[in-house]
Symmetry: C2
Subunit: 75 residues, 2 copies
Amino acid sequence: MGKGVRIQELPGLGTRYDVDLHSGSDRVSIVVGRDGKRHLYVFTTAGDEPTAVIELTEEQARKVGAVLAGTFFVD
Amino acid sequence: MGKGVRIQELPGLGTRYDVDLHSGSDRVSIVVGRDGKRHLYVFTTAGDEPTAVIELTEEQARKVGAVLAGTFFVD
């Protein structure tokens, strides 16, 4: 599962995960904060400037994550 | 788990999931295609135009989903 994901500790902040998309300049970085909050950075152009950044609570991130992973269900 | 997620069938295309973020105009929509591909639409401004759109294969989506959901592990 680890292949294609680079993990970097950000001291005092949390952990950064870069997921390689192999599709042009599209990239996704997720910073999981020590408080559980996630910041999702979406890059659709080359360079260091993200196209979009959104903040997700742990619960919101779990829902988005479940939909993406295909494990979302309605209870 | 279903609360805060609106699901809409898109005939012939797949299923659209809108995840409510309760944070200003930030929104996330995910379209899970019948071929397994996911399109992630990120909105950070009001209106119908997404700020960023990325396409993910099923495997890439699983990785991003696991990181977001907090179930990512390196094997």
